[in-house]
Symmetry: C2
Subunit: 406 residues, 2 copies
C-alpha cells in the first residue's frame, strides 16, 4: 500500500463527463489499495471567465478580492469530483484550502505555500476516505483567501505530497510525459522514462511548459517523486526523480527551445564600473526579467557593446525604460530584435563530460546557423539564434546527441 497524490489539470476536468472519467482513473488507484489524495484545477475556461469578470469590474484590481473570485473555480471542481467518487461507491470529501489549512504568504495572486497541516487529511485517508483538494488556493495566516498564480495547482499537488509524505505525486496532463524534444518539431522525439529534477527545471525554464518551475523546485527540495502522464491514455509517463535514481545517465536528455525571447543591444556603452547596475537596476525595479547577458571586450577600454535578452512581452517596456535613461547611461544607440529563439541542450551527464558545448556549436555551424548569444549552466548550454532556424537547429541537435528514436 502506498500513499499517492494525483493532480488533474483543467482539460482533464473540462466538463462533467471528464470529471467522471477522472473518478474512474482515481478508482484504479484506490482499488489497488492505495491511500489517495486528488488535487484538481478549475474546469477549463472557468478561470479565464472569472479573470474576465474581475478585469471588467476593476482593471487595477485588489488582488485579495481577485483571489476570492478566482479561487472559486477549483472549489467547484473539488466538490464535483468528490460527488463523482461517491457515485462509484467510495467515501470521498473535498477539503478547501481554508479547511486544511494550506497556509501561504500574503502575496495575493502569486502566493507561495508556507506550510500545510496534513493531520486532518491523513486521518481522513486512514479512515478510508478519498481526499479531494482544490489546487491553486490557500489562505494567509490572518485568514484571507490566496491563489498561487497561474499553473499553481502543480505546486499545490507537490506541496500536499510533501506534507502527506506521499510515495508519489502523479501530474495528469494532456501530454504523455517529457520528451527528448517537442514532438511537433522532431518526429523522432522519444518519451523519457526518467528525468532528473535539475534537468526538468532547465527544461521548464526554456519553454517546456509541462510542469511549473516552482512545483519542480519544491519536489526537488522535499524529494517528492513526480510522474508526468496523460489523463487521456493509459500509459506510464515520465518520472521526475533524484539524480541517484537515474542509473544509465545519457550525456544529453533533451533539446528544448523558447520562442518567448527578445534581444536588446546597447551599442558603445561607457565601459566603467557601475554601468551594469545602472542599466539592470531600473529593469529589475520594473520587474523586467533579464536572461542571457553578453558584454564584449572593449577595444579601447572606453566603450563596449552590451547584449541581453528579455521576454517578448517585456520588450517594449524595457526599451522605453532604457531610452528614458539614454543621457544617464550614455550609450551610442539601442537596437532590438524579437525574431530570435533560444535553443538549449540539457543533460546532467554533461557535468562529467567535456565537449558537449563544442559539439553544439559545430553542429549549428554545419547547418549554417549563426549564434548570436551563448549562455551556459552546469547542465545546460543555450544559444540565441534567428527564429527562422528553430526547427532546423532542434532537429540537428536531437540527431547529433543520439536522441533520435530508432
Amino acid at each position: 500500500m502506498a500513499r499517492i497524490v494525483l493532480k488533474f489539470g483543467g482539460t482533464s476536468v473540462g466538463d462533467v463527463d471528464r470529471i467522471k472519467a477522472v473518478a474512474m482513473r482515481v478508482k484504479t488507484e484506490v482499488d489497488a489499495g492505495h491511500q489517495v489524495a486528488v488535487v484538481v484545477s478549475a474546469m477549463s475556461g472557468v478561470t479565464n471567465q472569472l479573470v474576465g469578470y474581475v478585469d471588467a469590474v476593476s482593471p487595477l484590481y485588489d488582488a485579495r478580492e481577485y483571489d476570492v473570485v478566482v479561487s472559486s473555480g477549483e472549489q467547484v471542481t473539488s466538490g464535483l469530483l468528490a460527488l463523482a467518487l461517491q457515485e462509484l461507491g467510495f467515501r470521498a470529501r473535498s477539503w478547501q484550502g481554508w479547511q486544511i489549512p494550506i497556509l501561504t504568504d500574503n502575496a495575493h495572486g502569486k502566493a507561495r505555500i508556507e506550510s500545510i497541516n496534513g493531520e486532518d487529511v491523513i486521518a481522513s485517508m486512514q479512515a478510508g476516505e478519498v481526499v479531494v483538494v482544490p489546487g491553486f488556493q490557500g489562505i494567509t495566516t490572518d485568514g484571507r483567501v490566496t491563489t498561487l498564480g497561474r499553473g499553481g495547482s502543480d505546486t499545490s499537488a507537490v506541496a500536499l505530497a510533501a506534507a502527506l509524505e506521499a510515495d508519489r505525486c502523479d501530474i495528469y496532463t494532456d501530454v504523455e510525459g517529457i520528451y527528448t524534444a517537442d514532438p511537433r518539431i522532431v518526429a523522432k522525439a522519444r518519451k523519457l522514462e526518467k528525468i532528473t529534477y535539475e534537468e526538468m527545471l532547465e527544461m521548464a525554464s526554456v519553454g517546456a511548459k509541462v510542469l511549473q518551475t516552482r512545483a519542480v523546485e519544491m519536489a526537488m527540495k522535499h524529494a517528492v517523486r513526480l510522474q508526468v502522464l496523460s489523463s487521456f491514455t493509459n500509459k506510464p509517463g515520465t518520472l521526475v526523480v533524484d539524480e541517484d535514481e537515474v542509473v544509465e545517465q545519457e550525456l544529453v536528455s533533451g533539446i528544448a527551445y523558447s520562442r518567448d525571447e527578445a534581444k536588446i543591444t546597447l551599442v558603445k556603452v561607457a565601459d566603467r564600473p557601475g554601468v551594469a547596475a545602472r542599466i539592470f537596476g531600473p529593469l529589475a525595479d520594473a520587474s523586467v526579467n533579464v536572461d542571457m547577458i553578453v558584454q564584449n571586450v572593449s577595444d579601447d577600454g572606453k566603450a563596449t557593446d552590451l547584449t541581453f535578452t528579455v521576454t517578448r512581452s517585456d520588450l517594449d517596456r524595457a526599451v522605453a525604460i532604457l531610452e528614458e535613461r539614454h543621457d544617464d547611461l550614455g550609450y551610442q544607440n539601442l537596437t532590438s530584435d524579437s525574431d530570435v529563439v533560444k535553443v538549449s541542450v540539457i543533460g546532467v551527464g554533461m557535468r562529467s563530460h567535456a565537449g558537449v558545448a563544442q559539439r553544439m556549436f559545430k553542429s549549428l555551424a554545419d547547418e549554417g546557423i549563426n549564434i548570436q548569444v551563448i549562455s551556459t549552466s552546469e547542465i545546460k548550454v543555450s544559444v540565441l539564434i534567428a527564429e527562422e532556424f528553430t526547427e532546423r537547429a532542434v532537429r540537428a541537435l536531437h540527431s547529433v546527441y543520439g536522441l533520435d528514436a530508432e
Copy 2:
C-alpha cells in the same frame, strides 16, 4: 448615522454592469454617512448552472459537497462587488461565511443560521470599510460549508442585520415593494408604504414570493426593520415593521392568491377517533404539507367526508399514499382536483373588526363564485375556489375592501 444592511438578489447582480450599478446604489448610502454591509446573491443563472453540474455528476448527491459547489456563486459576486466598490474609491472587502463566521446547523442544502459573530464585521465597518457578504452560505460548527436553501440570501441579510444590530435591512429586488394585490391582475393595485411582519408572513404563505418566509420570521423575532424595494428604480419601497409602527391600520392590507394548490376529498371516511391521525400521519412522514382541512359533520355519526389541500407538486404522491392505505382507512372513494386556487384576504385590522369574512363570502357569492373550502387565521381569511375565477375574485375583493387606487 445609521448602520444598514442592503441585500441584492440575482437579477440585481446579473452581470458585470449590474454589479457596478449596485455599487453606485451602495455609494449613495455610504455617502449619506451610514455604515453599510451588503449581502449578495449569485449572478442570475449561476446557481442553476452549478446545480445542473451536481445533478449531472450525482443525481442523489451528498448535500455536503452540493453545498461546496453551489455556495461558490455567491463567493464570486461578493468579490466582484468589493472590487466595484473599490473602483468608486471606497475601502471594501468581502467576508465569506467561514471568515465571519456564520454558523448554521448541519442540515446541508437547507441549513438554518444559528449564530453570527458580528465582531470582526462591526470593527471593519467602524474602521470605514464597506462590508460585502455572500448570502446563502454558512458553515457548521465542525467547519463544513452549508447553504440555506433557495432564496436563503434574504435570511442571510436579516440574520446579519440582527447580529450587527442594524437600523434597517433593505431587500433590493425586481419589484418596487409589496402591493395590495398582484399588479398583473389588478390594475388598481397600490404599493403599500408599510406592512406588518404578520401580514407579510401571511402574504408569503399564500404565494407573494417577494420575501422568504424564514427571513420575515427572523426579522419579526429580532425586530429588524425590513424594506422591500426595487434595484431598478429610485423609489422608496415597502417597510415591513412591527404592528405598533403602523399608525393608521387599514382593515385589510391586501388580497393574495396561490395557484400552487390541489384538493383531495376522501368520501365517507369512518367517523371515529384516530382516523385523522391515520390519514395525516403517513402524509407528514412523506413530507407532504397539508394546508386547509375541512371535515363535514357526519349525518349518521358513522361516516364523514374529509377535504384538504396540498401543493400541486405533492398531489400525485399524496394520492398514492392514501390509495395504498385504502383498506386501513376504509373510505368509500377518493377524488382530487388541481384546478383550484386559494384566495386570501389579509389584514391585522380584522382582529378588532367583525364582518371581514362575511363581506368576503358575500362578495364572492355576488360574483357567482362557489367557495369549496374555507380557512381562517387571526389576520387572514382564505377560500379555495375554481382556478378559472382567480382574476374575477381578486379584483372584486380588492374593490370591496376599498383598496383600489383613486
